[in-house]
């Protein structure tokens, strides 16, 4: 890679250009261009960066969820051999706080008070990571420990509850009001209600937070980080360092998974502070324990739902309260609340709606973005309600959903008209008609719930089937213009036309680099595409979240390529010495400039010669509006995507063990750009929903995390994840590039309620919280 301007050294094993050779345009399934590097162990993850003479940073964190800091004494740590710096809040060069979404309430390093367990207080730089950790233990902090404020309900509704932070305890209350719920209550023939809870889920990406800061000769810093959104990092980092943004050069390093957990900053400002202070490169790598405190989690939720319906199952009203605990700082809570409110009843047409969604501050672990983002929590509740309604009305779960299903032209709870196809009733029919897996063969103990640990012969095993439907907003909502930028350059290298694609968009594993190359091939008719490392030397690409990068950065690459293509056409006209408008409809196909009327005009290489055509384009989605603060009305979403799951489970009702036997998904993706990548996203999203259904929870008591390890926080293994059947539909969204719909999140919504519904079907239990644990099934809790 090339670097200009900073005058600083480049690390070994730094990110580099990735050639994407071969063929494969939009709709094909070419292999990932980074796949070879990844299977050879040569892909430079942020934890692999190395530069001679670098120091190692370590972060001292609060053991208490709430305490006053009476004093900090760093002298013994500073005197420890091998230590170069020990920094506290006093050493933060610029602004002392940062945060997502304009709510800069998170201290770079705690000053005077800590508000959650694991809050960073001090930084150490030393010549070896073990030295840094040992020195860290010599920092003496005197705390005045306070009773943690952990009651989300009191935080929301009790004005006498002490304040977690100066903003007050209520981050956001978003109501949604449609029709007249009170009047509808009088007409309801069937009323069902439920209280549901969702535990704290962790993103549990496998590559812990890490990165490298290299001080530059111009007084700035080069940052090599694993993030989801470099430009938003930069907006927070620069003021805290007291540097102009142009003095901070950011390069995306290999990202070991993200799932929302890298949308907030972790070690970025800390490493940069240490590097600027010591004048030496500083690397910080969290271990797994620290990672559990190093990023925000999925908001836990308490939800109260009441639906009234006619006796044939048509919903008349929904009365809903959703309470989301954001922990000590704002992070993404505002937008998580917005999603929970606007999607609070999901893809169902309900004439009278009252939703109140709240996000609050407590001293519990900080929560923010995770795959599904507010829509996951609501989906578990509204899908549980649909099953409850089905039972009350004597309908089957598929029929009750079809009776109330939204479709193109109907309105969301916000009043936004669904403008694109939404064939939900048909998708449910397809899910139901998929072949069923074979019945349990109990003769092989490995087939039983609990597998090899089973102690019975399967006498207590019951099979269940359940359905779940999830509706997710794609791209950012509520008036946010989350545009993306792409720079595309076309030139002849070694006799062949090569397209170089440069964006700041984060490849986090989802396969964006594959897609960028496919789009360039399709739009420019070339085979050879090179993907430049993502950095901030090109404009903002927005976040790799909200399932938005295919849409937004895909759109930006498409439009930049189209602009380059126009340049090729103009050049072709000049070379042929003919006016452009006499050449007919032109395209770039198979390396040639082709006229619809006259056929092949020239090879792209011959047209280009020594010329280089480079174009940069921003891509913006259709504008959205905010939600009305009183009624929730508004055209707040950019795009909607739907996934339907059918889950089949075997449950040992005596032991409380669950085996998910099969998960089938029907998802509408608008247009399949790369089937292999797409299926991988649906598989992975489904697996994370399975984790939330039966395994994954950060257990918290008194504000403290009790299971910050992979020994105690369980994520699905290959034995937990069953085979999947997929049906993928292509009903185009006319507003989106190629008609595509974002695909990564919807399956994470729907697999959780489908699995829990299947367990209910097998056991007859109510099961109102996730994850479902053995004691919830056996009744022993």
């Amino acid at each position: 890679m090339t670097r200009t301007g900073s005058g600083s050294a480049t690390p070994v094993r730094a990110p580099r250009d990735i050639a994407a050779p071969g063929t494969g345009g939009v709709g094909d399934s070419p292999l990932r261009p980074d796949g070879t590097l990844k299977v050879k162990g040569e892909f430079a993850y942020s934890s692999d960066l190395w530069i001679d003479g670098m120091l190692w940073g370590a972060t001292l964190r609060s053991p208490h969820p709430r305490a006053k800091i009476v004093s900090i004494d760093v002298s013994a740590a500073l005197a420890h051999p091998g230590v170069s710096a020990v920094l506290t809040h006093e050493d933060v060069p610029g602004r002392k706080h940062f945060g997502l979404d304009h709510t800069w309430d998170q201290p770079v390093l705690a000053a005077g008070e800590v508000r959650h367990q694991g809050e960073p207080i001090a930084l150490v730089a030393a010549d070896h990571p073990e030295t840094a950790r040992r020195a860290m233990e010599k920092i003496r902090i005197e705390y005045e420990v306070l009773e943690p404020l952990t009651d989300a309900r009191r935080a929301a509704f009790d004005p006498a509850y002490p304040q977690v932070q100066p903003r007050g305890n209520l981050a956001r209350h978003q109501p949604v009001r449609v029709g007249d719920v009170e009047a509808a209550k009088a007409r309801a023939e069937v009323v069902v209600s439920g209280e549901y809870r969702v535990g704290i889920q962790d993103q549990a990406f496998l590559g812990p937070e890490s990165g490298l800061a290299v001080p530059a000769e111009d007084g700035g810093v080069d940052l090599y980080v694993a993030t989801q959104w470099m430009h938003n990092d930069l907006k927070q980092i620069a003021p805290c360092l007291g540097l102009p943004e142009e003095k901070i050069r950011m390069t995306l390093s290999g990202v070991g998974g993200a799932f929302g957990g890298r949308e907030d900053l972790s070690m970025q400002i800390h490493a940069a502070m240490l590097a600027l202070h010591t004048g030496r490169p500083v690397k910080i790598v969290y271990n797994r324990y620290e990672s559990f405190f190093g990023h925000v989690h999925r908001h836990p939720a308490e939800m109260r739902y009441e639906y009234g319906a006619t006796k044939d199952g048509r919903i008349l009203y929904a009365d809903v309260e959703i309470l989301l605990d954001g922990g000590a700082y704002t992070s993404a809570t505002m937008n998580v609340v917005g999603n929970a409110a606007s999607l609070g009843v999901g893809p169902y047409v309900i004439p009278n709606i009252k939703i109140d969604a709240y996000g609050v501050y407590t001293n519990n672990p900080p929560c923010g973005a995770m795959r599904g983002f507010g829509a996951v929590q609501a989906c578990f509740a509204y899908e549980s309600m649909m099953d409850k309604l089905a039972e009350a009305c004597g309908l089957d779960p598929v029929t009750v959903r079809q009776v109330n299903a939204a479709s193109q032209g109907s309105e969301l709870a916000t009043g936004q008209v669904i403008w694109a196809p939404l064939p939900m009733a048909e998708m449910l029919r397809q899910a139901r008609e998929l072949p069923m897996p074979p019945p349990l063969d109990a003769s092989d103990i490995r087939n039983l719930p609990g597998g090899a640990s089973q102690t019975t012969h399967g006498e207590g095993v019951r099979r269940g089937v359940g359905y779940g439907v999830g509706l997710k907003n794609i791209c950012f909502s509520e008036g946010y213009d989350d545009y993306s930028t792409a720079r595309v350059r076309l030139e002849v290298i070694g006799g062949e036309a090569v397209a170089l694609v440069h964006t700041a968009a984060a490849e986090v594993g989802q396969g964006l680099v594959t897609l960028e190359a496919q789009i360039a091939r399709t739009e420019l008719g070339v085979e050879r595409v090179v993907i430049h490392p993502a950095d901030n030397q090109v404009g903002d690409a927005g976040s790799s979240s909200a399932s938005r990068q295919s849409y937004m950065t895909g759109g930006a690459v498409m439009t930049a390529c189209q602009a380059v293509r126009e340049g090729v056409f103009a050049l072709a006209a000049a070379r042929l010495d003919r006016p452009l408008d006499t050449l007919g409809d032109l395209s770039l196909v198979g390396g040639k400039v082709v006229s619809e009327s006259a056929g092949v005009l020239a090879a792209i290489e011959d047209v280009l010669g020594d010329a280089v055509i480079e174009e940069t384009r921003e891509y913006h989605h259709e504008p959205t509006t905010g939600m009305d603060p009183v009624t929730g009305r508004g055209d707040s979403h950019t795009q909607l995507a739907l996934c339907v799951h059918r889950a089949v489970v075997d449950v040992d009702v005596e032991l409380g063990l669950v085996k998910v036997v099969e998960l089938a998904a029907v998802q509408d993706v608008g247009k399949i750009l790369n089937r292999l990548s797409l299926e991988g996203q649906i598989h992975g999203g489904t697996a994370q929903g399975l984790g939330l259904a039966v395994m994954e929870e950060i257990v918290v008591s008194d504000g403290k995390v009790r299971n910050p390890s992979f020994t105690d926080y369980l994520i699905p293994t290959i034995l937990d994840m069953p085979p999947m059947r997929l049906e993928i539909l292509e009903n185009a969204d006319p507003r989106a590039p190629y008609g595509l719909r974002g695909a990564g999140e919807p399956p994470t919504l729907s697999s959780t309620p489908a699995i829990v519904a299947a367990i209910r079907d097998a056991t007859g239990l109510a099961l109102t919280r996730v994850p479902v644990r053995p004691e919830h099934i056996t009744g022993s809790s």
């Binding site: 796949g35 070879t36 299977v39 496998l206 490995r446 594993g509 989802q510 992979f710 994840m721």
Partner: protein, 161 residues
Amino acid sequence: MPERVHEITLTVNGTVRRVAVPGRRLLSDCLRHDLGLTGTHVGCEHGVCGCCTVLLDGEPVRSCLTFAVTADGHEITTVEGLADGERMSPVQRAFAECHGLQCGFCTPGFLCTVTALLRENPAPTDEEVLEGISGNLCRCTGYQNIIKAVHRAAELTAEES
């Protein structure tokens, strides 16, 4: 007090490497930091995720649960040593071809585990694949394409032997 170091000799990917390490230096850190072989990844450092799996005398081990000194005199194969020169091994090619990876952080551990699995059992059934790699976590793929990749690797190995 300076920490006592031990001179050890490891044969890593066929090359004899001498290195001085403290007694408690993990094999994973020794490989990554002392020998510069960062293809071996560290995901949890407590032996659960399997990202750090390497082959010790051909057998898969968690390098984060192994002290470097205990590998003294032994042969170690890391992900960097799976290819035969420029030609990637059948397991490496199968994972790339079947999209058996996304972020790829877990991949080196899977590749080492599967390499050993297929050596023991060149044509595993689905059940044997599940058991064989149930000690490696992947957070991205939902494992579906990893299972395909293992079977594809078995096919490629058979075709080429």
